[in-house]
Amino acid sequence: MEWLLALAIGVLVAGGVWLCLREHVFPVLLGLTLVSYAVNLFLLASGRLTLGSAPLVDVAQAEYPDPLPQALVLTAIVIGFAMTAFLVALALQVVRQEGVEHVDGAAGEQADAASPERDGADGAGR
């Protein structure tokens, strides 16, 4: 159980960070979403992992999950969702205004086009 969760968090963060470092807004946005999934899983794990019982306070029961991280995760999901939605709307506005979705706007697009050692695979991320 632990290794599965750790692996999931690690893979999500690795993929998210890689996407965040891309030059266009949309991959960056996907990367941030992946990172926020990983963070939510991490928060859930901060209350220790317990299998097969509900996260409800029950003094009679010997072992049950800590409900507080679950409340934190719910709040984090809501906030993360709102922030991502805001970024999507903002990115669309930039694309409408400048016609490009480079994170630095039209100037960044031109700088990339001008640089001779541009990696050919970069376009694939769009």
């Binding site: 965040c20 928060l43 901060s46 220790r48 507080l68 991280p69 930039v94 400048e98």
Partner: protein, 555 residues
């Protein structure tokens, strides 16, 4: 002031004071959302009323904080450590007062025209204040995160207000950076909760020093992650490159208010690393040891960036970076004198930053062709007024006598005298560089103006008054340096006296009569004694209100 507010603590609803600065902006903001179709005059009246009320509440809270121990408030009347706490101590009250004082001229400047950019400006301004007030008032780490998010989303919207391409581009960078920052904040919260089992700052202050060695690594990881987040908010190097372009693109009134936002990061460093993590002695091994070098690096970067700036607004942004660096140097000493200097300097730096952004906007508007570019050749329409305001703002921010920057920088120099050989050189060289930069800018803007007549329109009376108001705040802070330093010294002593903060939270009186012996609390206390974590049960401090101060005393 104390005399007129002496009766506040005796009022029947006096226990509710700490929640007032959070509730009022929420109520006014909601009201202004409902009024978004009303005329601008109505919105301005309600907004202005709100700003005056905030100022009154902040003054009352300063008087209350001055009169006694920290005021704690249990939201929903859940006893410590379960509930969410708001705590107003001297530092929080001071930050609230600084916010209210700088928000008033910023808001007035917006009323001179910038609030026409969209129907939501006045509501967003209140929500921005809600986030700031909440961050200053909260006594809970997760709530600090939530209030950070509130102030951030309001700041994104204000940054984009009256949108143009430069604003949208700057906003993309700011939003992406802060989303990464939020992820790191949550990771830090997760680490700290996993290690200690609580997020209440007072409870953390009790439990963090008693942590077992196997959990200490996790806690320290959380402490380092938190420093990254707070440094990002405070725009400290290497996470401060977003500030100059973003603030330069923002509407001037919003940039002036944003002068407080970076101080939220500095405040958080001061709060968390004095209350929760003082067991990590300042040194290379703990996160608090990084604050001083980071401050020096930020100062150097700001000075170099100011030398390279070719426009007035980014120049103002870099000067703000210099003042944040100075502030972090003061905080980074982690000594009483450093805290006191930081408390004074935080007010000065906020007022000076706001004044600079407002003056820069006035200059840019009056130079029809050159705008805020630092090229000679076009005069402003009102050279005497703007030059005087520019001189006031810049003399203050670079730290020349006679204004508050000099007093503040002197206090910082005194506080860092044990590290003089490495700190003073950078502080003083930074001052020299910024003086050169500012003198060069002034000569281009106001002196070598050529014979060309200006085509710009004179500033409206309200806009000039708002900018003059910021400079007047700096003058007032200089004149009142004595009382301000008395308050700052007492604040520094209170920051070092962690047991008072903990005691205030754990002995907060219940506001409602317990119904049937409050079964939910009894059950919760039983859970706390047994503990969720299989490794280590939390300290038994949770259940009774008197146990924790006692535990604090033992250490």
């Amino acid at each position: 002031m104390t005399a007129s507010f002496a009766d506040l603590a005796g009022l029947p609803w006096a226990a509710h004071w700490p929640v007032v600065p959070v509730l009022l902006p929420l109520l006014f903001g909601t009201l202004l959302v409902l009024l978004s179709r009303a005329s601008l005059a109505v919105q301005r009246t309600v907004g202005g009323l709100a700003m005056l009320v905030h100022l009154g509440v902040a003054s009352a809270l300063v008087a209350l904080a001055e009169a006694g121990p920290p005021l704690a408030y249990a939201v929903g009347d859940w006893a410590a450590p379960f509930g969410i706490f708001l705590v107003i101590d001297r530092l929080s009250a001071w930050m609230l007062l600084v916010t209210a004082l700088v928000a008033l001229p910023a808001w007035a400047y917006a009323c001179a025209g910038e609030d026409r950019g969209g129907p939501w400006f006045h509501a967003l301004f209140q929500f921005q204040l809600l986030g700031i007030h909440g961050a200053f008032a909260t006594g809970d780490l997760f709530n600090l995160f939530v209030f950070f998010e509130i102030l951030l989303i309001a700041s994104y919207a204000l940054l984009l207000h009256g949108a143009n391409a430069a604003r949208a581009r700057a906003a993309v960078h700011v939003v992406v950076l802060n989303l990464v920052g939020s992820a790191l904040f949550l990771l830090a919260v997760g680490c700290i909760y996993a290690a200690v089992g609580t997020l209440n700052l007072a409870d953390l202050a009790v439990k963090a020093p008693a942590i077992t060695p196997e959990d200490a690594g996790l806690l320290q990881t959380g402490a380092f992650l938190l420093l990254i987040v707070f440094a990002l908010k405070a725009a400290a190097l290497p996470l401060g490159f977003w500030l100059p372009p973003a603030y330069a693109a923002a509407p001037a009134a919003c940039a002036a208010l944003f002068a407080v936002l970076t101080k939220v990061g500095v405040y958080s460093i001061l709060r968390v690393y004095t209350l929760v993590f003082p067991s990590f002695e300042p040194g290379p091994e703990g996160p608090s040891g990084l604050v001083l070098p980071l401050g020096l690096a930020t100062l150097a970067l700001g000075a170099i960036g100011a030398l390279a700036a070719d426009r007035l607004r980014p120049l103002a942004g870099h000067l703000v970076l210099v003042s944040i660096g100075t502030l972090l140097v003061a905080v980074g000493t982690f000594r009483e004198a450093g805290y006191a200097a930081a408390v004074y300097y935080v007010a000065h730096s906020t007022f000076a930053g706001a004044a600079l952004f407002l003056v820069a906007d006035l200059v840019a508007r009056q130079r029809r062709t050159l705008g805020d570019r630092l090229d000679a050749g076009e005069p402003v329409r009102q050279p005497a007024l703007l030059a005087a305001l520019f001189a006031g703002g810049t003399i203050a921010i670079v730290g020349l006598p006679p204004l508050s920057g000099f007093v503040g920088k002197l206090a910082v120099l005194q506080a860092t005298s044990p590290d003089a050989e490495r700190v003073w050189v950078l502080l003083l060289v930074g001052t020299l560089l910024t003086v050169v930069v500012v003198a060069r800018a002034a000569s281009a803007l106001f002196w070598r103006t050529g014979d060309r007549p200006t085509e710009g329109k004179p500033a409206s009376r309200l806009a000039s008054a708002a900018a003059a108001g910021c400079v007047a705040l700096l003058v007032a802070l200089t004149l009142a340096a004595g009382p301000a330093f008395d308050y700052a010294n007492a604040t520094a002593r209170q920051l070092l006296d962690r047991s008072a903060y903990v005691e205030a939270v754990f002995t907060v009186p219940s506001l409602s009569a317990p119904v049937g012996g409050a079964p939910h609390l009894a059950e919760a206390a039983a859970v706390a004694e047994r503990g969720f974590a299989p490794t280590e049960p939390p300290a038994p401090a949770a259940a009774s209100s008197t146990a924790s101060p006692a535990a604090e005393g033992e250490r």
